[in-house]
Each structure stands twice: as C-alpha cells, then as structure tokens.
C-alpha cells in the first residue's frame, strides 16, 4: 500500500508540468485563475499545442493520434491542467465522440473525424437532452425519418453546451417511433451549418452563455453520418455515458479553487486584518482541503484498482457525488471570501478578480448536469440496497 507515484510517473508529471509552464500563454492562465471560463480560442489554441505534443487525446490509441496513456498518467495530465490552470481538453470531441467512433464508427468515419477531433478542427457538441426529457433521457422525441440517402431530422434539443461555438453536433434521434423507449434511437453526426438548424442561446444564472436550444426543421443528414446501426443508438449513448471516468471526481478543480481561496483570503482584509488569519475561515478551508484529499485518494483507489472496481462497479457515482459536493462548497467558500467585493457584475473580459459569485451560482449545476445528485443516489442505492 502506498500513495507514491512511480519514478516514471513522477518524471511524466514533471514533464507535463514543465510543458504547461513553458507553453501555456500566461494570459490564458490568468483568466482561468481569476475564475473565468476559457474562451473558445483559448481551448482551441491549447488543444492544438497539446496535439502537437501528442497529448490531445490522452486515452486514445496512438494510431488515432492519441497518447494511449494509462489511467494514472491520464489523471496526471488532467490534474496538471487544473493545477496550472489550463483549458481542459474539449470533452465532447475527445472524451465522448472519439471513443464512440472508435467502437461503433466505420473506418471512414474514424479516418475522417478522429484527427480533426483531436486537433479541434471540428468542434462537436452533444445533442442528447430535450425539453421534457430531463433525467429520463430515453424519452427523447426528436425524430429522423429516412428519405433516400438522407435522414430528415425534426425536433428540438436543449441544454446544448457550446452549440453556439460548435461546428457539428452528435445527436440521439428517434428513427423508429413504434419501438420501445430505448429501442428505435439512432446516433447521428450533424453539421450545424445544414439548413433548417436554429440555435437559440440560453443564459445561465451566472449571466453567461454556455447553453443553447437547437431546433431541427426538416434538416437533411446524409446516412453516412449514422454511427453504428440504425435504431441501436442507445448502445452508443450508454457506452459514451459510462466511458472515461478519469475526470468525474474533479479533484484537480477542487485543489485549484482551494489554492485560489487561500490566495484571495491572503489578499483580502477585514477591518485591517488579513482574512487568512480568521480562525473560522482557516478551519473551513482546512476541512474542505481534508475532504478533497479524501476524494483524491478515493479517486485513485477506484481508478487504479481492479478489485475496488469489482467490489463497487457503481463507484463513479461515489466520485460524482462527493466531487459535486466539494465543488459547490468550495465555490461557496470563495464567494464568502470575496464577500461584498464580489457583488459587482463585471464583463467576462476582465482579468483580475473574476466572476467569483457568478461562478458560485453556476456551481449549482454540478449537482444537476451529468446525472443529478438524485440519480446518482438512486444508482448507488440500487448497488448497495438492491
């Protein structure tokens, strides 16, 4: 039993850290540190820098431009990105669609898309959720009917993160309306420039534009853009959702935000005294730091140990629940630290002292997106109570 990196892993971590320190533009680093979301150009620029180094798609096999790294090395890459902080790999391209194409796609689809995904030449977004579907994903109603060499898509997607920045969307559509819920669904790649697509922004409670509604009105999609078999799209979706748990705990994010909390508490004063000297605040930071460490070790334990994965196959829900709770508490702590100094709404372009309070508001999404807290608890309860 030990918690040390191997000499190889340590060397890898140092290599990654040095690489990021040398290659990450300081302007991007400072924006992220201040609490801003990365801009599209930040994510693209950084993804290409990583791609040049071969680290754009850490868990893909090398023949598709991936780094073919083991779980610990992937975690190191991710942690170091958070630590810097650097933009994270674009999740839809690298974490979601890539593996689906490799498992279900045709060789042609792989050859065409994978290099472009890795290099962010194409920005994909995910079209799963629909109004009314919520946690019940399979109740989706966006329909695609076959007409010759095309599917004709009609319907609406919602909560489509970054659709306004994206070039393409991978979407679940209903191709058989007679079949039972999970059957009759297909997985389509859709070029967002196709006529008939309208994208409407949804502003989040942080005041920013992350989400969209996407409307499809007689949108023609070539049948060659079907991934896997018609009516078997649910298999792709299930695979996608169960895939790539490296980042689910968000330990690196918690650490980075805790570091920032310490930095801000050192910078702020209250009635002439450094906030960081306040014993209650110190205790609260310490408590969250200790719990972050508990999550970190739990994350390692499950990601690296077969016997643990076998003991609790639903472990991802443990990581999601605790990670969510900590993210939210740490964001609340940050909002408390900046206090009245964080009430002013500022433009997203400002660099120092970013939108701490808005980001606290947005952190409430962590217990809703990617499987609500309630859904995660249902999953775990099924595993432990039956």
């Amino acid at each position: 039993m030990d918690l040390d990196l191997t000499p190889e892993q340590r060397a890898f971590r140092d290599e990654v850290r040095t690489f990021i320190r040398e290659k990450l533009p300081s302007e991007i680093r400072e924006r992220l540190r201040a609490g801003h979301p990365p801009r599209k150009q930040d994510t693209v620029a950084w993804q290409r820098i990583l791609n040049e180094r071969g680290w754009a798609a850490p868990h893909w096999p090398k023949r598709y431009g991936g780094a073919d790294l083991g779980p610990m090395e992937r975690l190191i890459l991710l942690d170091e990105a958070y630590r810097a902080p650097a933009p994270l790999p674009q999740a839809f391209n690298v974490g979601m669609l890539g593996p689906v194409l490799m498992k279900f796609g045709t060789p042609a689809q792989c050859d065409h898309f994978l290099p472009r995904l890795a290099n962010l030449d194409i920005w994909f977004c995910q079209g799963f959720s629909e109004p009314g579907s919520g946690s019940d994903l399979a109740s989706l109603r966006t329909a695609a009917r076959r007409e010759g060499d095309h599917y004709i898509v009609n319907g609406q997607k919602i909560w489509t993160t970054t659709a306004h920045l994206a070039d393409w969307v991978f979407a679940l559509v209903r191709t058989d309306t007679e079949a039972r819920k999970q059957e009759g669904i297909s997985f389509l790649l859709i070029d967002l420039r196709t006529p008939g697509i309208t994208i409407r922004p949804i502003h989040s409670i942080d005041g920013e534009h992350h989400l969209n509604e996407v409307f499809f009105d007689e949108v023609r999609v070539p049948v060659g853009n079907l991934v896997g078999q018609e009516n078997k799209g649910w298999d792709c979706a299930k695979f996608l959702l169960s895939n790539e748990r490296t980042g689910i705990a968000n330990v690196g994010l918690c650490r980075e935000r805790l570091d920032y909390a310490r930095e801000l508490a050192g910078r702020y004063t209250q009635a002439g005294k450094p906030l960081l000297d306040d014993p209650k605040l110190r205790a609260d930071i310490a408590m969250l730091e200790a719990e972050t460490r508990a999550l970190e070790i739990t994350n390692w334990r499950f990601l690296l140990t077969d016997s643990e994965q076998k003991r609790l196959p639903a472990f991802a829900s443990v990581l999601k629940l605790k990670g969510t709770e900590l993210q939210q508490e740490i964001n609340a702590l940050l909002a408390r630290i900046v206090g009245p100094g964080g009430l002013e709404r500022r433009s997203a372009d400002e660099v120092t002292h970013g939108p701490i309070a808005p980001r606290y508001f947005l952190s409430r999404a962590a217990s809703i997106y990617g499987g609500t807290t309630e859904v995660q608890k249902d999953i775990l309860a099924k595993a432990i109570v039956g």
């Binding site: 019940d136 949804i202 009245p340 409430r364």
Partner: protein
C-alpha cells in the same frame, strides 16, 4: 405577542402586491433588465402613489411615521418580485439616516421630497477595506473655506446612479475602526468632486462606487456629535438588516412556491416528480427553513423598531445570520428540484439565489454576525 398584520399593513401589502403583479411579473422584469434601465419609473411612481415612499417618513414631514414592522410585508413583496426599485436605498437607508442623524432643517429640506418619491437619495457608508465591519470609515472630512470637503471611496452604494443625494459617513477624527469620530454628510450627486462609477450587482440591481475628491458636503447635524452619528449609523444598519431580512424571506417564499408548483406539475419517467420521496423530503426541509426565515424576519423588524433598546442587537444579529442561511437553503433546494431549467437566467428561480446572495453580503455576512452575536451573548 402578536404575529398578524394590522389592517393598514394588510391593505398596503395587498395593494403593493397588485401593483407588482401588474408591473413586475418575471417577464416584465426581464425586459426591464434587458433594456438597461436601472429600475421601472412607473413602478416607482406607483409606490409613491400607494404612499409607500412616505411610509417611513415622520408624519410632520408628510409621511406616515411607519417602522420596520410596517415595512415588513412590503419588503417581502419586493423580494418575491425581484424588485430593482431604489426603495431600500432611498426610503429605508437614506431615509432612516436622515431621520436619525439630520437636524430639523435638513429633514425638512429632504424628507418631504423623498416621501413623495420625487427625490431619490442613497446611503453611502460601506468601504472596501471594512468588508463586514459595521463602523469602518476611512473617508475623511475636513473643514475648508467655511464648509466641508470629503475624500474617500464608498463601495457598492445601492441605487447609486439614481440618487440625487448621498448620505455619506466620513471621519473627522480617529482611526478607521473607531466607534466615534465620524459624522454624516449630505453630498449632492451633481457637485464637482463627486464621481459615481455605476454598475450592476450580480442580482441585476443597480449600484455604484462613489469616489469623493474634495467633494463639497453638508453635515446632517452638528458634526462633533459623534455619539449621535454612531447611533444614526447603527439605526440605519438596523433598518437595513430588517429590510433585507424581510426581502430575503420573501424571495425564499417565492422560490419555494415555484418549486412546489414544479413538483406538482413536472413529469419524468412517466410520473410526477413530486412523487419521489427524496424530492418530497427535500421540500419538507425547505419548508422548515422557510418558516425559520419568516420568523426571524419578524424578529428583525421588531428589533429594528426598537434599535435603541439595549437588547435589540442580538435579535438583529440572529436574524441576519438565520434568515440568510435559511433563505439560501430554500433557494438552493428550489434550484435543485427544478433541475436544468433552474439554472437558466430566463427562469425566475435562480434569480432568488442571486438576490439572497447579494443581500447576505450587505450589512455583514453570517460569519460577521455570528461573531457579533457571540460577543453580545458569551
């Protein structure tokens, strides 16, 4: 002991609710923020017409001499409707400061116009370095050419951009944290040396940073009477605490109501989500929090009306602590029960969290009031 509104209070609350339902439905409120306006002038006129702006003004000066108890239902209605009107800033804060800190001449000059709603004033007291310290004043006042000049920065001045006058605390003597040595001044927004950087707070309400550079200022009363100044500042803060506690409890009530409606109508997996025991239990926990917030909003109103009494301070600290915490619990729960839609700006529920967060940071946050309550009790 009595927990009911009297007839006047109930009647006013009803008229106000009608006005706000008419002018401050959530879609109208959205259009208002989108328009860039800092508030809705017709609503403000309506408030004056209802006599609400006159409510806290003494009867001798054209008002109704109402206290925090009378304001409670109104502030709850403002919270429910996410009001952006400068009522807290002008009628409550600046009004109380003038009532407690100004001599007769000054009161006669300003309060009738504030009662009629024609004059909007703002309370400019907080400073960045003070954070949650209630009496931290670095702004300096000096006598010059037979008048007074102020230098300093006042942060997060609510409704700053709408104000014709600022009531400003400034230091004549002593160090920033000294309880004495301050005086209150009137500053004309149009004077030289008075600069306001306007912005919106994260709940969409208007505020500003007031930068005073040798700004002309008139003392509200004898500036040497720093005991009166201290009591006026404390009384104003007490009125502010009562008002924001009421506002937060109203906001929490509205968030709660939205969430209950949602549980009763939204279906998922083929049944109402309100049939899920886990969500039902969350709803019950929210109700408990809501009732605590309602109770302490009342306690704050009673304590603020009696702010000069020795034992009123603990209830103000308790209320600020408890209402903020409980109202926040309700808002967080309401968002969670809504799921995705609760995270959007186009739906009301998230706005209540934003409002409660802003109000929690005014007049001292939970930590600050816990420390002060402990000092009062232990």
């Amino acid at each position: 002991m009595n927990f009911e509104l009297n007839e006047d209070q109930a009647a006013l609350a009803e008229s106000l609710s009608r006005l706000l339902a008419d002018r401050y439905g959530f879609e109208k409120r959205r259009a208002l923020t989108a328009s860039g306006a800092a508030h809705d002038e017709k609503t403000w006129a309506g408030l004056a017409e209802l006599g609400l702006t006159a409510l806290p003004v003494p009867e001798a000066l054209g008002g109704f001499g109402g206290g925090a108890r009378d304001l409670l239902p109104a502030m709850q209605a403002f919270g429910r409707s996410l009001s952006m009107e400068p009522f807290l800033a002008s009628a409550v804060l600046a009004g109380t400061a003038l009532r407690l800190g100004a001599d007769e001449a000054m009161q006669t000059r300003l309060l009738p116009g504030m009662a009629s709603g024609e004059i909007v004033s703002a309370w400019a007291h907080d400073e960045p370095a003070g954070r949650h310290a209630p009496l931290w004043v670095e702004t300096r006042a000096e006598r010059k050419d037979g008048g007074w000049k102020l230098d300093g920065i006042k942060s997060n001045v609510p409704a700053g951009g709408l104000a014709r006058y600022f009531v400003v605390s400034a230091r004549i003597a002593g160090a920033p944290a000294d309880a004495n040595g301050c005086a209150l001044f009137l500053v004309d927004a149009k004077d030289a040396g008075v600069a306001l950087r306007e912005f919106r707070l994260v709940d969409d309400t208007a505020a500003g940073e007031l930068v005073l550079t040798q700004a002309a200022a008139q003392p509200l009363a004898n500036p040497e009477d720093s005991t009166r100044t201290r009591l006026a500042i404390q009384g104003t803060v007490a009125a502010g605490i009562a008002a924001v506690c009421a506002d937060m409890s109203g906001a929490a009530q509205a968030a709660f109501d939205l969430a209950m409606d949602y549980l009763r109508t939204r279906k998922q997996f083929g049944r109402l989500i309100g049939e899920n025991q886990a969500l039902r239990h969350r709803a019950s926990e929210m109700l408990v929090s809501l009732e605590m917030a309602r109770s302490m909003a009342m306690a704050a109103a009673v304590a603020a009306d009696d702010a000069s009494a020795e034992d009123s301070a603990p209830d103000l600290h308790r209320a600020k602590l408890s209402v903020a915490r409980n109202a926040r619990n309700v808002a967080l729960g309401a968002i969670q029960l809504h799921g995705g839609i609760g995270m959007t700006e186009e739906y009301a529920v998230g706005h209540y969290l934003r409002r409660i967060h802003v109000l929690d940071q005014m007049f001292g946050d939970a930590d600050a009031h816990a420390a002060r309550l402990a000092a009062a009790l232990l």
